[in-house]
């Protein structure tokens, strides 16, 4: 879930106003058009159905995704998918927003954990259960924690595809140098004892790194809040940022930087870890392959540390089908989703990218067993998966909730402001931002 604060972020902020306004307009219409009857397209028998797929994968991930599309197109002769790269998760979602207004929508689209819900509320993405039945898709073989995030009122809307979770990464050389056991800390209390041994006194190395708000600190902090027994919000959108346990977690984060001084807040965490400026961090499993390839030291990974509980969120992106697409194209899109997430493809995708295998049976395939043997670190990531849980509504369902919490954490860690007063502000802001969502939710789900 790493993201650099660059032109994209700037543009995202610039566009937030316009994009939100257009989305709100969609929400307004959703009352009448929640169950659109898709027009049927009668194509000539024997001809291929062409569908458009909008995604956010570039670089190595983009090549892996194009290979997947190519494999699908060659595997059958009923459907032809065209993969179209649309920029980051944010840009893809914004373009989809504009496309809904202009009637230039794709048929299948990749949406990240913080975006799909808004489009669900707007009625822009369709219920998948009927389509799944037609292509004999077995929902029972998907990792339940990942699949259930995309379910509303017992109906599937968002199929897990490029899903990740945070992991605890550590630099084995520094660990050995400090005389620590070769494993991730089991609890934060244990790590607090280890940390002073990992710090370099001249300030050139910290024991641990936090990302900044733009790099999704609120995603990683989500797990820590649960570990301390707190949460961002309750399922009914009641914000609980001032819960004593949530505040305890924030106080711990502040102490690591301000009081104990063994952690730093870094705008580019992965780079600092590879460069040896921090000895450990929490980061996405999606970065594992890249870090191992570029680090000059052995990389260790482990489950996130516990405190009162274990806590680890899921993240990443999934696939949805556009409700406006003609029935025939929706079915074609479902065929692609079924292919891209079948046990074999899920394994290929996981091995080439570092994302979680979304199918349960993938773990038993011989290729995967062999891959685990050679990459024990990736096995750790997959083993942690059943212990993860879906994120709180405050971060993923409230528009901009991730950034509201992230900015609050920056105030606590960087400015050293008291967690209780900052999170009281954040609580108010989230409550206000949740208001329109609750209204839409009422209109859609009753």
């Amino acid at each position: 879930m790493k993201r650099t604060f660059t032109r994209r972020e700037f543009l995202r902020l610039m566009m937030a106003g316009g994009g939100a306004a257009v989305l709100a307009a969609c929400g307004g219409q959703s009352g009448q058009s929640t169950s659109p009857t898709a027009p049927a397209v009668v194509s000539q028998p024997g001809s291929k159905v062409k569908i458009t797929y909008w995604g956010s994968f570039s670089g190595n991930l983009g090549e892996a995704e194009q290979a997947m599309v190519k494999a699908f197109n060659e595997s059958q002769n009923e459907v032809e998918v065209e993969y179209q790269f649309q920029g980051s998760y944010e840009e893809t979602a914004q373009k989809f927003t504009a496309a809904l207004q202009a009637n230039t929508t794709p048929d299948v689209i990749l949406l990240s954990d913080v975006w799909w819900f808004g489009f669900y509320l707007a009625g822009a993405i369709t219920a998948l259960d009927d389509l799944a039945r037609q292509v004999n898709l077995d929902f029972n073989d998907y990792e339940p924690v990942l699949l259930n995030e995309g379910v509303r009122k017992g109906v599937h809307y968002w199929i897990p595809f490029a899903r990740s979770t945070p992991l605890f990464y550590y630099n084995k050389s520094i660990w050995a140098e400090a005389g620590l056991p070769d494993r991730a800390p089991e609890t934060w209390a244990e790590f607090s004892e280890w940390a002073p041994k990992l710090v370099k006194s001249d300030g050139s190395r910290a024991a641990f790194g936090h990302p900044n708000g733009a790099s999704y600190i609120a995603w990683l902090f989500q797990g820590v809040v649960w570990q301390f027994g707190g949460q961002y919000s309750l399922p009914d959108f009641t914000m609980t940022m001032t819960d004593p346990n949530t505040l305890r977690a924030a106080q711990f984060y502040q102490d690591t930087v301000v009081k104990e001084k063994w952690a730093i807040l870094s705008p580019n965490l992965n780079q600092d870890f590879i460069g040896g400026a921090i000895a450990s961090m929490m980061a996405s499993t999606g970065a594992l392959a890249g870090i191992q390839a570029n680090a000059t030291f052995p990389v260790g990974v482990g489950f996130l540390p516990r405190e009162t509980n274990f806590g680890c969120p899921t993240g990443g992106a999934g696939l949805a089908i556009v409700s406006r697409a003609p029935a025939e194209k929706q079915l074609a899109a479902m065929k692609y989703i079924a292919f891209a997430t079948n046990p074999t493809s899920a394994g290929v995708w996981a091995r080439s990218t570092g994302y979680m295998p979304v199918r349960i049976s993938t773990k038993q395939t011989p290729e995967m067993i062999e891959f685990f043997k050679q990459n024990p670190n990736f096995k750790t990531a997959v083993d942690q998966l059943p212990k993860t849980r879906a994120q709180d509504a405050a971060r993923v369902f409230v528009r901009n909730g991730d950034q509201i919490i992230g900015k609050g954490l920056e105030r606590i860690i960087v400015n050293g402001e008291a967690p209780s007063s900052v999170f009281a502000d954040v609580n108010d802001e989230l409550t206000k931002a949740a208001q329109p969502i609750l209204e839409d939710l009422k209109a859609v789900e009753g």
Partner: protein
């Protein structure tokens, strides 16, 4: 006063001149060079870093402390970047959109600036005010309405879709109008007396005199079209319609670690043509100035 006078008299005037003036001059010169060095460093370091990184392996780019010279220079990044995406096609698209985009923009700016500077028509002030207002609107604000308009015209994923919304930019008209206003009236009157029409005056009199301003405006326009990212990304869907900046962006990884050596090599594909354009255009700016001075 007396003491100062005595002091001045005791020192020979010639030595005062030789010592004082060069000293203060030297001070200014040092300050000037310092400012120059700082400017070059601020502008040049990122460029230097880009060039060096494109010859490094990704592992070296990520390692600390940073290396200022590639320890094991490699040329692999360039073919890797070129093969990762259809850069030949991106070049073609970038050339087409930049050439027509900047060309139309310069021509429209020339005509509209001429009208605003020299012609008399009712509510001219209002038109200029409107222009200034357009200058204040950030491009990002207009993206969604522009997208809807282009989509309804059926221009998504076409060259005209990329080019037309950016074809008339208020700042070009504003810049040239200001330059045209500075042209002495006598020259224009002389041309009019000789029987020159508006087109003749614009292209044979005003344009040569204000060449530096026009070339500057054209350069700014070319660079902004060449580097434009968000609009072409939004208005195109397929790879064969994409431009260079999107190609470079494609080289980056959305999650995890980017292969920076390859990304930097891709960035050089983008930078080099603009650099060459600058080198040539720079000459036109200097020539224009002297040409104007002789005529004026």
């Amino acid at each position: 006063m007396a003491t100062i006078n005595e002091l001045e008299h005791s020192v020979k005037p010639t030595t005062v001149h030789q010592r004082r003036l060069p000293l203060s001059l030297l001070g200014w010169r040092i300050a000037g060079y310092l400012a120059l060095i700082i400017t070059v460093l601020i502008i040049g370091l990122p460029v230097y870093w880009t060039v060096m990184a494109s010859f490094k392996e990704t592992r070296e780019i990520y390692s600390l402390p940073v290396t200022w010279w590639p320890t094991s220079p490699t040329l692999n990044n360039f073919p890797a970047a070129w093969q990762a995406a259809p850069f030949g096609r991106y070049y073609l698209n970038s050339f087409i959109t930049t050439f027509f985009g900047a060309g139309i923009e310069v021509i429209l700016a020339l005509f509209s600036a001429y009208a605003l500077a020299y012609l008399h028509f009712p509510r001219k002030d209002l038109v200029f005010l409107l222009l200034l207002a357009a200058l204040m609107v950030p491009v990002e604000i207009t993206i969604v309405p522009n997208y809807l308009t282009i989509a309804r015209l059926g221009w998504i994923n076409t060259y005209q879709g990329i080019i037309i919304p950016g074809a008339a930019i208020a700042y070009g008209t504003f810049l040239l109008r200001q330059a045209f206003m500075a042209v002495p009236h006598e020259i224009l009157e002389a041309a009019r007396v000789d029987g020159a029409g508006h087109l003749r005056i614009l292209f044979s009199v005003v344009a040569p005199i204000t060449q530096p301003a026009i070339v500057t405006m054209a350069l700014l326009s070319i660079v902004s079209k060449w580097n434009e990212f968000l609009w072409p990304l939004i208005v195109t869907n397929t790879t064969d319609m994409r431009t260079l900046p999107i190609g470079v962006f494609w080289l980056r990884n959305s999650e995890g670690l980017s292969n920076w050596g390859v990304v930097m090599a891709g960035s050089l594909f983008l930078i080099v043509p603009v650099l060459i354009t600058f080198l040539f255009a720079q000459r036109a700016i200097v020539e224009g100035m002297t040409a104007g001075a002789v005529k004026g």
